[in-house]
């Protein structure tokens, strides 16, 4: 690799992915970007604006976050984590559904919440916040259904097998920003910065959202770039065949806090690509190091 290559590009290419990134100092406004204004597929990152609208509706008294919701096993959106993988009926509060949606990216919890909040309400909020590049066009179930249809298979387990085929992956509508839940890296860091500055909603709501993002369990993407006890990493991942995303905030012990949004797409269709996962953290550290250079 030639030494003149952008260090962010070097990280992404070394992991066999194309990367889109935006990082911004939450308090200072300095920024670093790579294709930061291009449209990207959110995948499960759309659960973050959904969570924000949930809290704003609670602030207006439209719903009670502690109110219990019954989520029957029958007809639940499927997935590999949380209620989406559980077998029996469940009853839990809206805010505990939000916990599962954010910390293990539970698809069933997300669809239950989106049904309650309303997809257009989320988009209206995004408009009010000026995040006009960001759209929620379908819930998890519709997105998964489009995968089955495009792959020409009957159910989720067959999708997993079919998506190892590059020709199948090439025709998935879910991977096209124009036809899927979408945003730009720049829109996502604006949203994160508003949440961290208590501007996206009331202070208590923003604090609750930050709490859930800090409780996300995955260590392999954004957090892997900051394996330091005194650095706090909060985030939300998104994953689809060949897509690996994470948006979040990295907080340094000296008080510096940086919103970063990283979206990647791999050439390989292999589902296990730890180097591609780690590239998200590595690229984020490169970007944040640049933000901190001229303090």
């Amino acid at each position: 690799m030639s030494p003149g290559v952008d260090p962010l590009e070097r990280v992404f290419r070394g992991a066999g992915v194309t990367g889109w990134l935006h990082a911004v100092d939450v308090d200072g406004g300095r920024e670093v970007g790579l294709r930061a204004g291009e449209p990207v597929v959110l995948a499960s990152v759309f659960k973050l604006p959904l969570l924000l609208e949930l809290h704003r509706q609670a602030e207006r008294g439209l719903l009670d976050l502690a109110g219990l919701v019954r989520v029957p096993a029958e007809g639940r959106t499927r997935g590999g984590t949380g209620l989406a993988a559980m077998l029996d009926d469940a009853t839990l509060s809206l805010r505990d559904l939000a916990y599962l949606m954010m910390t293990v990216s539970d698809n069933a919890a997300a669809d239950a919440l989106l049904a309650r909040v309303g997809r257009e309400a989320v988009n209206a909020l995004l408009d009010r916040l000026g995040l006009t590049e960001t759209r929620v066009v379908h819930d998890c179930r519709d997105m998964l259904t489009s995968l089955w249809e495009d792959a020409g298979v009957a159910d989720q387990s067959d999708v997993t097998q079919a998506c190892a085929d590059p020709e199948v992956v090439a025709r998935l509508r879910a991977l096209d920003p124009a036809r899927s839940n979408r945003s730009t890296p720049r829109d996502m860091t604006r949203l994160l910065a508003m949440i961290w500055r208590d501007e996206a909603a009331g202070a208590a709501s923003c604090a609750a959202i930050r709490r859930l993002m800090a409780l996300q369990v995955w260590p392999h993407r954004l957090a892997s770039g900051f394996p330091f006890d005194d650095v706090a990493v909060s985030g939300k991942t998104g994953t689809l065949p060949t897509l690996r995303n994470e948006v979040g905030v990295v907080e340094y012990p000296d008080g510096g806090r940086y919103a970063v949004a990283v979206f990647t797409r791999s050439l390989s269709t292999a589902q296990n690509q730890p180097r591609a996962d780690a590239a998200i953290g590595a690229a984020a550290r490169v970007a944040i190091d640049q933000l901190r250079t001229h303090i």
Partner: protein
């Protein structure tokens, strides 16, 4: 001729303006005094007095010589007094212990600063580690010292605590130089070159504890108090070192993220401080701030672990 002594005779005559009275005051006869003044005039090539039968008066050259002569005589007397004090062993000397890694510019600034403040007192600095300074202070072999924190010794009193946060020194081809800021944990797998534990037991243990806490357990530790030797190990890529930026080509300095290391320094003296300890402490605190990058210790930040679900308990 003994110029200083002759200037002394000259000054007595200028005060008396009478050779007889001046000779009496000096305890000598008049003719030898007159002869010595003439020899001084020959030496300087100028007449210093207008002599008549009735009176003695200074010439213009004599008037100009008076303040010069006074200064020369006074300074020579001061020098003799100082030497005499030294010979008797009760001279005005401050014996001060200073850390080995203080650095030439800081040491020079310390000595010059003390000389400006107390020109009558000689500063005798001794390069010593904290352990040796504590022993020397308690035994009365030092009047004041600059100790590295943490230190605990009964019978000593302490001045203000100053702190600086060392960065890391790396070989320029070390991959970590790509970062503007390096985390302690990034150093994992590397060797460390550090000051000797027997010289600085408190700071040595404190530094390694902070390293372990930050994820850096050196694969080997080489101890030296020679800065050049330590830089050689860094330059060769053998080890990393902590400290201030070095001017050595091939060695790159990077700050440590979150300033996990705090190297503190404080003046100390026996519970009954000697007369010039206050002067030394004031000068040392100013010089360490101006020349060694140290600052007053504020409330030290408490190291804090940011919990993560996947790396915490029972995950």
């Amino acid at each position: 001729m003994d110029l200083v002594r002759h200037l002394g005779y000259f000054l007595v005559v200028t005060e008396e303006l009478h050779f007889g009275n001046a000779a009496a005051r000096l305890g000598m006869a008049q003719p030898p005094l007159s002869q010595r003044i003439r020899r001084l005039e020959e030496e300087l090539g100028m007449r210093l007095f207008e002599r008549s039968s009735r009176r003695v008066a200074l010439t213009e050259a004599g008037r100009l010589l008076v303040p010069e002569a006074r200064e020369i005589v006074a300074r020579v007397e001061r020098m003799r007094d100082l030497m005499a004090d030294l010979a008797r062993g009760d001279a005005a000397v401050v014996r001060a212990g200073v850390p080995a890694d203080l650095g030439a510019p800081v040491l020079a600034a310390l000595i010059a600063g003390f000389r400006d403040r107390r020109p009558d007192v000689r500063l005798a600095p001794a390069e010593m580690g904290t352990a040796a300074q504590v022993a020397a202070l308690l035994e009365g072999r030092l009047d004041v010292g600059l100790l590295r924190h943490p230190v605990a010794a009964d019978g000593l009193a302490y001045g203000p605590v100053l702190v600086r946060h060392p960065g890391v020194l790396l070989a320029e081809d070390d991959e970590l130089t790509a970062w503007a800021t390096v985390h302690l944990g990034d150093l994992a797998g590397r060797e460390l070159v550090l000051f000797p534990r027997d010289a600085e037991p408190g700071l040595y243990d404190d530094t390694l504890a902070s390293c372990r806490r930050g994820g850096f357990v050196p694969t080997a530790i080489t101890c030296t108090d020679r800065a050049e030797f330590a830089l050689g190990l860094v330059l060769s890529g053998t080890a990393v070192a902590f400290g201030a930026p070095a001017e050595t080509p091939g060695v790159v300095w990077r700050p440590l993220a979150g300033t996990p290391l705090a190297w503190r320094c404080l003046p100390a003296w026996r519970a009954e401080p000697g007369p010039y300890v206050r002067d030394f402490t004031a000068v040392a605190v100013r010089v360490l701030k101006e020349s060694a990058g140290m600052v007053d210790e504020g409330a030290p930040p408490t190291p804090r672990v940011a919990p993560r679900p996947a790396t915490g308990f029972l995950a």
